[in-house]
Symmetry: C2
């Protein structure tokens, strides 16, 4: 794949979201993921063509598709060199938005298997926010937020106490807005 974010031009009659899904599918061979429009920006004219880019952010679950791993991994975006300045801005903005939304939506759902332990959930939060969280406070707030359902199952893995399995509440849509269940004092800056 050439350096830079995957992109393409829309097809006649296609919605913007559909285009974004198609571009993603072509570049990562994954579909049915969470999609959100980010920002629309100009790019310098090349070959005498005026054009704009409509940026999207996509979350891909680590259990469906080619990304197979127990833990959420976060490819440090700083490591992405050889990309254009526009792409860099888009990515940085995406990270800010993602971190902010973590606090008041259930988008983390898209980064976890359908059923998961609280420790796994905390790991996801910690990797995205890039800082450690207090276990007891994290659990209390997550439970209190009401976005989780506890299942009756437990996960046994290794010689230690089994962990209770949770799932995200089924009646909530892909990116439901909730009463804030997390505030990140670290990067005090908010969304957009």
């Amino acid at each position: 794949m050439p350096p830079g974010l995957p992109r393409d031009v829309p097809v006649r009659g296609e919605t913007l979201d559909a285009t974004a899904r198609r571009v993603l599918r072509n570049s990562v061979s994954v579909h049915e993921q969470y999609l959100e429009q980010l920002y629309t920006l100009n790019v310098p004219e090349v070959a005498n063509r005026w054009s704009i880019i409509v940026g999207y952010i996509a979350l891909v679950s680590s259990t469906t598709g080619p990304v197979a791993s127990d833990a959420i991994t976060w490819s440090p975006t700083e490591a992405l060199t050889h990309i254009g300045e526009s792409d860099r801005m888009v990515i940085d903005y995406a990270v800010v938005r993602l971190r902010a939304k973590l606090g008041y939506t259930n988008i983390a759902f898209h980064l976890l298997p359908p059923t998961f332990t609280l420790t796994e959930l905390q790991n996801a939060y910690e990797t995205i926010l890039a800082r450690r969280l207090d276990k007891r406070n994290f659990r209390r707030r997550m439970i209190a937020s009401g976005i989780l359902d506890e299942t009756s199952d437990k996960r046994r893995d290794g010689s230690h106490r089994p962990a209770a399995l949770y799932r995200f509440r089924a009646d909530l849509d892909t990116a439901t807005y909730l009463t804030p269940h997390w505030s990140d004092p670290a990067d005090g800056a908010n969304t957009t």
Copy 2:
């Protein structure tokens, strides 16, 4: 003016922001205002033309330009009938964003004269948020937020105690991100 939001097509080589400014200038005869991109959306094909709309929100100060009034007025957006569904969505989204940003930026600056009283500032917040705020709490939080500078002047108008005049801190840019100085428990939903 025909019903609906003002719009136009970009000119070759023009940035998106420049287009937005031009459209605004043509429709309201005002410039040098706060501009922010909102969202990009598809519109149904008309006359066999596939097109998209890049929505912008603009704040116009009530002291410059044709809008002359001491008080901030808020034209209820519900009253805007005879507009398309796309426009309705754009406007509703704009209101949500504006309300959220009120809490952690200094954008209210663009709605007030260069120098203003705390009561005027509170009125601006109340009209935009569409609810009453507690005077003492509002003042305390605003002062504590550090986005204001107190001037040595006072405003005398009417037979009552004169009000201290404030201005927004000069060293802050048009829409600086600050530590949150207002949280609105009313519509708990945050920005996108």
